[in-house]
Symmetry: C2
Subunit: 435 residues, 2 copies
């Protein structure tokens, strides 16, 4: 039976919920014109239904009880926007088991529980839309899954955490310390009171997990993603990087070889002429290299009520079109069991490295350090040594050729025990041809 | 009846045809894994089936007779890759009338004959895939039609002709003349022997026509797109633009107001810090501003066998998925009859302008020119006057505030008749906040 409308219920009326409602109601005319039928916002559940959110809602659609949405037989699509693992997971699974399609922006939930959730959706024959889980308004899920479907994905480099990018941009522009940039971001609402997820690479790793599952058909492997945040980056490192022709960005990186894929999130030096180096402030960008398409980059707002609402509503439209045509899933649910690709351990990763040694300004220091690097198969591409201070510690900056992470860790361990070294060595991984 | 495969026929084995075949056959394993069934390349028609194209084809699939594909009852999807209007149009219409879905990269055909072709497809209940018609490997059609479906599209600024962008990039990097950069592009295979379509904005206008139909639901209006090419751009203008903080790019621009939309292709000065100014060489990029998503930019290779093959195969996959699910069109065929938006005449356009006057170096010149500008309601934002040459002509560069094209044309007409003006005035339109 074809109904006249597709019925939507939203759980969670926070920032993203509000944006979704604004897009769905505010652009109802253009949506109807484009898709040929109406999508009706039937119910919204939130713990607080009193607060004035500055949006006008149809009378009587608010409820404090999510169950009213999960068990409403007339609702076709449940939009989960409460975030976190519990009770989001229970809500999503209940909706799925009640035969409802689900749209979610919840990257943590999918990264950690995705295999179970997509498995259940497969069994129940419903769809899970998750465009808003990565890259905010950038339709990167659709791009990877459909637009670039014909490609073997070779590399993904993503700036997919706006908070970190804002902080690094400000540190670069103003030469300020991490803690000051963080405070500024918090004041402007770009960072939360507890910023851990954003600044320690956890949020980026959640999103990378999702991108990698799409790109490489591998199970959701959040726990195997290497994570390193930006809190140890100093203005001094940013300045040395610029001098060497690089910017420092928090990148989420996926790289595929024949039998293994690397998944890692860490501060990365990127040649400053690369387009991704020019992504500033809270913007996101995902660079994708496919065997057919070559290099491509997709840029936009990674967060915010309206951009995320744009992504949520695009998922609702996709599912609604399928419902209206009784066509079932068009792009199959993620099937991630069959891949022969294993996930590389971090110690196997090979890249270039930037080292900032804190060395005593005495003869033979460079030769000692270079010796240890050489012993560990690490060859030096360039050296910056400046700010001679008699008897004190001075920074010695070294850029390497390609080296193996395991060897690098070994070398640093040895170097940090040298009496001529005053502080623990700082290092930053380097991607892209900088020469 | 569900068959095991979806059968594909390709007409035209040129560069794009070859890329399509390479992607379809070379990535068959990954495509099967992703979509769950096989797509079989059944026949390829080309006038020359002798030439060695360096690709290995299944035995016996080549034919010189396109009719063999158009009338093969087992072929589900016809891929038209011969380009031009005739006989491409007849092939496409025959395929459609025989109940076949069509995939095409033919922007000229769609821009000029799109309304008829999509009308016929609608009547016959088949799909037309045209991802490869704009932006090569960038999935901009899918992005606009599905990813950003929830947005009112406010502005589109596209670098969608790689040849022109290459020429302008080289002129900017090397300070060389247009004709030298064009020759270089021809030598490298980036420009054709007859480069008219690319350098005079015709190709960009074809593509803009398609983007505008998608974004604004308006009929294909190629003849109403304003077109101006890059052949009159000089190294001197590029240098003055840089001095003022701008780069010169050939932009395809669509801007929507409440009742009208502007569609124009012309050399444009863009603030050099804008991301789109950093798109160099043969790369394409499309900047889109939507009311929900805000600013977004999509970047990649706009041409070439493999990137375009990537787009063609993504269309084949989309259609094949629908065939397998007997679901009919998921995203409806373009319906472009109902729009209340009219297309603005160029004379109504309002933007900023760069003028380079060739003025005699005598007292009162600036006041005379400024007077005429003022009489035409054009106010001056900044002036560069240099290179004093006694008695001779010197360049006088003026950047305006927002002004109306009609007034600008009137002013130039008056100024060019002044005895103190030695040459016809050069002007370039300016977009984006440069201050």
């Amino acid at each position: 039976m074809k109904r006249d409308t597709v019925e939507v219920g939203i759980i969670g009326l926070g920032t993203v919920g509000k944006g979704t409602v604004k897009v769905l109601l505010g652009n109802r005319d253009i949506l109807r014109e484009r898709i040929g039928f109406d999508m009706n916002l039937r119910k919204i559940a939130d713990l607080d239904i009193i607060k004035d959110r500055g949006i006008e809602l149809p009378h009587g659609i608010l409820t404090t009880n999510a169950e009213e949405i999960l068990h409403d037989p007339d609702i076709d699509i449940v939009v989960e926007l409460i975030g976190g693992i519990h009770p989001a997971k229970e809500y999503v699974l209940t909706a799925v088991r009640n035969g409802k399609h689900v749209v979610t922006a919840n990257k943590a939930l999918l990264a950690v529980e995705g295999t179970e959730i997509f498995g259940e959706a497969e069994r129940e024959g419903v769809e899970i839309g998750f465009e808003a889980s990565v890259g905010g308004g950038i339709p990167i899920i659709k791009i990877l899954r459909e637009g670039l479907v014909a490609n073997r994905i070779l590399n993904i480099y993503g700036i997919i955490n706006g908070t970190s990018n804002y902080i690094l941009s400000r540190m670069t522009e103003e030469g300020i310390e991490f803690t000051d940039a963080l405070k500024e971001a918090q004041r402007l609402g770009y960072a939360e009171a507890d910023p851990t997820f954003d600044i320690e690479g956890i949020d980026s790793a959640h999103k990378l997990t999702i991108l990698a599952s799409l790109a490489y058909n591998i199970p959701f492997a959040y726990s195997e993603v290497y994570k390193e945040g930006i809190s140890k980056i100093t203005p001094q490192d940013i300045e040395f990087a610029l001098e060497l022709g690089y910017k420092i960005k928090l990148l989420a990186i996926a790289k595929a070889g024949n039998s293994a894929v690397e998944l890692r999130v860490h501060p990365t030096m990127v040649p400053k002429d690369n387009l991704i180096s020019k992504v500033e402030s809270v913007f996101n960008a995902i660079y994708v290299e496919g065997d057919a398409v070559g290099e491509a980059l997709f840029y936009g707002k990674g967060a915010g009520d309206m951009p995320t609402g744009s992504a949520i509503v695009s998922d609702i439209v996709d599912i609604a079109r399928n419902i209206r045509r009784n066509s079932g899933r068009r792009a199959p649910v993620l099937k991630t069991q069959s891949s022969p690709l294993r996930i590389k351990g971090m110690e196997e990763v090979v890249c270039m490295y930037y080292f900032r040694f804190s060395a005593m300004d005495s003869p033979g220091v460079l030769s000692k350090i270079a010796g240890i690097l050489g012993d560990n198969n690490i060859s030096i591409a360039s050296v910056i040594q400046k700010g001679r201070r008699v008897g004190g510690a001075v920074p010695l900056v070294v850029l390497t050729h390609m080296a193996k992470e395991r060897n690098v860790m070994e070398a640093i361990k040895s170097i940090d025990t040298l009496p001529i070294v005053a502080e623990k060595t700082h290092f930053i991984r380097v991607e892209g041809k900088g020469e």
